[in-house]
């Protein structure tokens, strides 16, 4: 089932007055796609999911499932979640505490008044898929977080929904379980082929799961694209800093001409701009810009003798496989990723900046 959102706006009236939660959002989600809504808390991603589910009404705009209009403010159409046949998995799992696991999974089928024998078959099949067959007689209170999550997912898939919606389903799990469940959700979605919309604030989760990701900020879409394209070609500073860990360095830089060559000034030091980036730099109207550089594109004490900056190591943080080194270049804070050796705090180092990998952003920070 394709999901198409057109010019969706959602406003809330609160004590502070009108708050625009979503501002003119348009997204097309393909059949069977795993689509991730990513953004910081309060960016409107959960509201967007609620709108798709039919739990909230849009202030303006249209939502279509394939050719069927499920919400349209102009034509005053609004279908309930039941009529849309969506399934929803909540962060808190939202299992019914008074029912055992079997009845929890069977609940949507019971409401739909499906035959008993058929319910039993469907529940057992869903339970087998999620490997919770031995838990069917247990009440939710006796389950661990991971088991609850499985029950919630089983309840969602049991009635073969058109669209599968997940609202930060892994946020309440511990780190190890989260990674295991992440892989499992991905496999399940591959197997079932149901169009899935997944909300998260965790960019690692989004990158690992999504066929495509929409990055939201303050009710607006910053960028929609595959995980690779978001990483390689961020459309703006927000996406650049939000995707990737440690985040991209964002530095105010200015351009000068020295010895007939265009140079970037970082602190009190200057670097010649490599030929690949000259055209982009020349396209800038002003002589300063915002330079984005991923930490892995900075090398400390390289063996060769290309152009260098000198920097002081401010602090060092081990990430296990790699080490994040926080550098001070004439007062500019820059993060680099490198190997562990020889990274003493306070030490003076030579730093190679791979300017051919830099991102150039216009405007203000």
């Amino acid at each position: 089932m394709k999901v198409e959102l057109t010019d969706i706006t959602k406003e809330f009236t609160s004590l502070r007055g009108r708050v625009v939660a979503l501002d003119d959002i348009s997204i097309k989600i393909d059949e069977g796609e795993f689509f991730v809504l990513l953004g910081p808390s309060g960016c409107g991603k959960s509201t967007l999911l609620n709108l798709i589910a039919g739990l909230e009404k849009p202030t303006a705009g249209r939502i279509q499932f394939d050719d069927k209009v499920v919400a349209d403010t102009d034509r005053r159409i609004f279908l309930t979640p039941k009529e849309r046949n969506v399934a929803f998995v909540f962060q808190s799992y939202a299992l019914y505490p008074h029912l055992d696991v079997f009845e929890n999974i069977a609940f949507p089928l019971r409401i739909a008044r499906i035959e008993k024998a058929e319910i039993k078959k469907a529940v057992e099949q869903a339970a087998a898929t999620l490997e919770i067959t031995d838990l069917l007689a247990v009440r939710p209170a006796e389950l661990s977080g991971g088991q609850r999550q499985r029950v919630a997912i089983a309840r969602a898939i049991v009635r073969k929904p058109n669209v599968f919606l997940l609202d930060e389903p892994l946020s309440n799990l511990d780190a190890r379980l989260r990674i295991a469940m992440r892989a499992e959700i991905k496999n399940l979605q591959d197997k079932l082929g149901i169009t899935t919309v997944y909300v998260t604030h965790d960019q690692v989760e989004a990158m690992g799961l999504g066929d495509r990701i929409a990055v939201l900020n303050r009710g607006k879409i910053e960028q929609i694209g595959t995980p690779e394209s978001l990483y390689e070609k961020p459309a703006g500073i927000f996406v650049a800093q939000f995707i990737g860990s440690p985040p991209m360095n964002i530095i105010d830089a200015s351009i000068i001409k020295a010895d007939g060559k265009l140079c970037v000034v970082l602190g009190n030091q200057k670097l010649v701009i490599p030929s690949e980036k000259i055209r982009e730099i020349e396209g800038l109207k002003e002589n300063h810009f915002i330079l984005g550089l991923r930490p892995e594109h900075i090398t400390i004490n390289p063996p060769d003798n290309a152009q260098m900056l000198t920097a002081t190591i401010h602090s060092v943080e081990s990430l296990g496989r790699e080490t994040a080194v926080y550098l001070d270049v004439d007062g500019l804070a820059i993060t680099a990723l490198c190997d562990r050796e020889g990274m003493g705090k306070g030490r003076q180092v030579r730093v190679r900046i791979h300017l051919d990998k830099m991102h150039i952003f216009k405007g203000e920070r």
């Binding site: 609620n50 589910a53 739990l55 309930t80 979640p81 039941k82 969506v86 399934a87 929803f88 909540f90 962060q91 808190s92 939202a94 299992l95 019914y96 505490p97 008074h98 609940f107 949507p108 409401i111 739909a112 309840r155």
Partner: protein
């Protein structure tokens, strides 16, 4: 004696004193109901055990005590039932729907419940006379329901507001209508609260005196508290034995209810105070 034993003895003495202080009227009631003479204490008459009082209260048709008991049970059950139904619908609306003045509605209900009963009784009497309801069950069920409703509402609102909203959303996605959400999710999840509201309403209605005194005239609708108060002997003397036996019979079901469900009742009463 060590300091610990002294402390234990003091605590024990305190407990015994408090218990005796609280329970003395009940013990007195029980003893007199089982005694041949009500004044055995003052006249140094010896205590003689008898079940005559109970026998008279339960079987003597002219005392009408079984009638009172039946009236009380039916009226209290009906009041408690209506209270739970109305209060749960109202609490669901107040906690789940966005409409202006939800909080003022709650506080208005609280204010209404502070009205002194005596201030209402004159009006109620006129009202019920007009309706021709004096000395009927509905004459009591109606004001009882209204009188207990604010408390029931407050308890249920505090219960319902603790049920996470996501449960409603999940039920909605699973295909429930709003009525189904209330019946299949909210009420079962809040079952302890609903039960405690039912019991509290029942006990309140069962103990009520003033309305019952004014709005009933004889055994056809008179409730136990009024019935006992109006017990009269043949020559105008007060039949203490019968009164005490009737009181014991009346107190028993309440005591049993409270003992069995005390945990629920306590949770229901303190819920709003601690949380929400």
């Amino acid at each position: 004696m060590s300091e610990n034993t002294v402390r234990n003895w003091l605590v024990l003495a305190g407990i015994v004193f408090c218990l005796a202080f609280c329970l003395f009227p009940f013990i007195y009631m029980l003893v007199i109901s089982l005694s041949t003479r009500a004044d055995f204490l003052s006249q140094r008459a010896s205590f003689k055990f008898t079940l005559d009082n109970f026998n008279a209260v339960l079987t003597d048709g002219s005392l009408h005590f079984p009638d009172y008991l039946r009236n009380s049970f039916l009226i209290s059950l009906a009041s408690a039932f209506f209270c739970v139904v109305i209060a749960s619908l109202a609490a669901y609306a107040i906690t789940r729907l966005q409409f202006p003045g939800r909080m003022s509605l709650l506080f208005f209900a609280l204010a209404v419940s502070m009205f002194p009963q005596i201030g209402l009784v004159g009006y109620l009497f006129k009202f019920m006379t007009r309706l021709g309801w004096i000395n009927t069950y509905q004459a009591l069920v109606l004001p009882y329901t209204a009188w207990i409703l604010p408390l029931s509402l407050w308890i249920l609102v505090s219960y319902f507001s603790q049920i996470p909203r996501e449960l409603d959303k999940a039920a909605l996605v699973d295909g429930c209508t709003y009525r189904q959400i209330l019946c299949k999710v909210i009420l079962p999840v809040a079952a302890p609260g609903v039960l405690s509201v039912f019991l509290l309403s029942f006990i309140f209605a069962f103990n009520e005196f003033m309305f019952a005194l004014m709005l009933t005239t004889d055994y056809r609708a008179r409730t136990v508290p009024v019935g006992i108060a109006l017990f009269q002997g043949l020559h105008g003397q007060t039949p203490w034995g019968n009164i005490m036996a009737a009181s014991v019979v009346t107190t028993l079901p309440i005591v049993i209810l409270t003992l069995v469900f005390q945990r629920h009742i306590m949770a229901g009463l303190t819920r709003g105070a601690v949380k929400g």
